[in-house]
């Protein structure tokens, strides 16, 4: 069965420090991968998505970047965190062909920039 792992679960980082959040998917090949951010009590904002290795699309201009070094690995990074980067970050995957299923989400990372 397919599983998605996202870590760490919580992270407290000082302003100006780097960031690396990792997401891996098991049990499927060539998934579409996504990074979302969720502000407190709000909906999800799509940050990046990827349809293949090295293929990254950005939805909003920001202080973050994403990379997909392997088929089932998706990394969210920043060189220098800002206070406004605080939030709840979610990784998700979907089949390349949208069928009868929805997206599968990781358990999320709570990032607090201090």
């Amino acid at each position: 069965s397919q599983t998605i792992h996202q870590w760490p679960a919580t992270l407290v980082q000082p302003v100006g420090s780097p960031l690396s959040l990792e997401c891996t998917v098991e049990g499927t090949s060539n998934p579409n991968l996504y990074w979302y951010r969720q502000a407190a009590g709000r909906g999800l904002q799509l940050l990046f998505y990827s349809v293949g290795i090295g293929q990254i699309s950005s939805e909003v201009p920001q202080n973050l970047s994403a990379s997909r070094p392997q088929d089932r690995q998706f990394i969210l990074s920043s060189k220098k965190l800002l206070l406004s980067d605080s939030g709840f970050y979610l990784c998700a995957w979907s089949p390349t062909q949208q069928g009868s299923g929805g997206y599968t989400f990781g358990s999320g990372t709570r990032l607090t920039v201090v």
Partner: protein
């Protein structure tokens, strides 16, 4: 915007009652999905209804879709305290990887 909007934003009911949440959207869709999110956790896919379907059931969940009104509803029957969570609708339009758009969610509290 293609993003859906849930109504109400928050709902509080007694255990055993039914909970109804609504979602409205603006563009034509391929399908509409409902997700649940427990506090501080990831989203869990509950149910998908295609644009040519009007109603779908899954356990205590009943989803309806009215494409003429561009709206959907999620009904949870015989609610339980464990149903307390945020519920999001998401619409899929067109093709490609970036075609899922989430609403802002309804926060459901079921009081034991």
């Amino acid at each position: 915007s293609q993003q859906g909007e849930e109504d109400p934003q928050a709902l509080s009911i007694q255990e055993g009652e039914n909970a109804t949440m609504n979602c409205s959207y603006k563009t034509s869709i391929n399908n509409l999905q409902w997700y649940r999110q427990n506090s501080g956790r990831g989203l869990v896919h509950l149910i998908l209804i295609r644009s040519n379907e009007r109603e779908k059931h899954s356990g205590r969940l009943r989803v309806t879709l009215d494409t003429s009104k561009k709206s959907s509803s999620l009904l949870i029957t015989a609610s339980r305290a464990a149903d307390t969570a945020s519920y999001f609708c998401a619409t899929v339009s067109g093709t490609g990887a970036n075609n899922l758009f989430f609403g802002t969610g309804t926060r459901l509290t079921v009081i034991p």
